[in-house]
Assembly symmetry: C2
């Protein structure tokens, strides 16, 4: 089924121990959409400036992504510059120019109104809540956020959390949100804030899912589940790894008929698979040119990495 992502489309400049790039097509929605496009049909809502041209558009449309929800306005697109020279696990932001993203007000095309799966990428929780409220028909909503919103926009964020089927955030963020340093206790407190399930990303150590009582319909229940990350001998560019995880995770779920614990587990693996591809090249380069067999081969590798037999 169709999946809709609302979030940033940007140009990124980054420096890593493997080299540097001055202009890569990026943004959370872009990484998410490309990763999810290998599993299901994808729609995007975002805003870009005049620097986003036919070449950038083609990166998305070549993967069959519906870009009718990307608004083109005068000015420049969101720009981010970061460095991973000190720490490959955490970007150091050197420059952020919001540009046209500053006044982003998501508009939902009529043609998107039948969307059943909605991903709220990391944007202002006020906008996340607004989009959610305008799409009453969605079957499942996942969302991301970041330390900035957790710290200074907690009330707005709380209103979004109540409506999420799954919240995807990282280790540091879940502890900050819960004001609790133990992962399990933090997860419990965040689940009590409303999301039905929680996927906590641990970077090179994988991700752990925690489930509330209403994570699955019917009689399904599940304890926590941990998906590994692939030990990689070269991380070329970590940018977008989390959004690519989200795209693989939610894209796989949207491709299935029902959400069961087994589907959720496989989705975690596909998330890790897409994250592992994303970091192999700068920007979205690797995500633009995958084929299904590479994805299935890597899924098998994750199974070998983590399974007893």
């Amino acid at each position: 089924m169709s999946i809709l992502v609302v979030g940033s489309v940007a140009f990124d400049a980054m420096e890593t121990p493997s080299g540097r790039r001055e202009r890569c097509l990026g943004g959370a929605a872009t990484y998410f959409a490309l990763a999810a496009s290998y599993f299901t049909s994808v729609r995007m809502i975002g805003v870009v400036g005049e620097d986003f041209g036919a070449e950038e558009e083609a990166v998305l449309t070549r993967r069959g992504i519906d870009t009718r929800g990307i608004e083109h306005v005068p000015g420049k697109s969101f720009f981010w510059r970061g460095s991973y020279m000190k720490n490959l696990n955490e970007a150091q932001t050197l420059d952020t120019e919001l540009n046209v993203f500053q006044s982003f007000s998501p508009k939902i095309p009529e043609a998107y109104k039948d969307t059943e799966y909605l991903f709220l990428a990391n944007i202002d929780p006020v906008l996340q809540a607004d989009v959610r409220s305008k799409m009453p028909q969605v079957k499942m909503v996942c969302g991301d956020t970041m330390n900035y919103w957790i710290k200074d926009h907690a009330d707005n964020l709380a209103r979004v959390l109540r409506h999420l089927d799954a919240l995807l955030i990282n280790d540091g963020e879940v502890k900050m949100l819960a004001k609790e340093s133990n992962l399990v206790l933090a997860a419990r407190k965040v689940l009590a804030m409303g999301p039905k399930s929680l996927v906590v990303k641990h970077g090179e150590y994988g991700a752990t899912a925690f489930f509330g009582e209403h994570s699955f319909a019917g009689k399904h229940k599940s304890g926590p589940f941990r998906a590994p990350a692939l030990p990689l001998d070269a991380v070329v560019d970590p940018t977008g790894a989390g959004d690519s995880f989200a795209g693989g995770f939610f894209g796989y779920i949207a491709s299935q008929t029902a959400l069961t614990p087994a589907v959720f587990r496989r989705a975690m693996f596909y998330g890790s698979v897409m994250g592992s591809f994303a970091v192999e090249r700068f920007g979205t380069e690797r995500l633009q040119n995958l084929d299904k067999s590479e994805i299935e081969d890597r899924f098998a590798l994750f199974r070998q990495l983590s399974h007893l037999d």
Copy 2:
């Protein structure tokens, strides 16, 4: 088959967010021996002072551990005091009194000479090499070390590494030893130093095994394997988690007829199982009172935590 551990027997004092203890029986060899005792018969070599009495002896002998290799000498036993108040993942050492351990010179009882499995806990690599050379009949040798030996005794350590079937160390140590910040590249460099396999412990994120070409006899080969750690809502005392992991890991291997990739993988899980028990109580308290069904139940929990179906 019998497993022999050579290492420290100590008294520990520790402070954690859960409380404090002034005197717990500890030391790497103690944690290892107790954890391994649930899988196979265990022999110990160590040294203690006059403060190690019948009560401490009984902790070991109640678990069927052969203590004939524990030498009793005048003076006080090794004493360590640490705090986990700032960071549950890393002990802050407040005091170390080597006492009788300062002049530890391992003596191998005649009755131990048929031992087939040897664990060299974290002691001076000169002593590790000495014990290894005096036990030519052993079938498999595993070892541990720490930053102190890596930093200032690299040549001595190198002589031990060449003879190890498996080296068990943590993330920071493998990177320090290899002078390489990427885990996979670091593992590759350390395997080139001699150990046939490598188990890198990631604390709350589990452990990853890497295999050299000669890890297994015959045609067996294996890519890396990652065992999860159990997400725990309370870590009472992390002391000895790594040595307990080693005890579960190597104890299980010693209980099997041959080392295959499947046995190694299950051993990693049993290592994680024993580590997860160790941290539930102060000192070795939890490891003293387990039964086989608790261990098997937790093994099943680790499988549920990490397996797709």
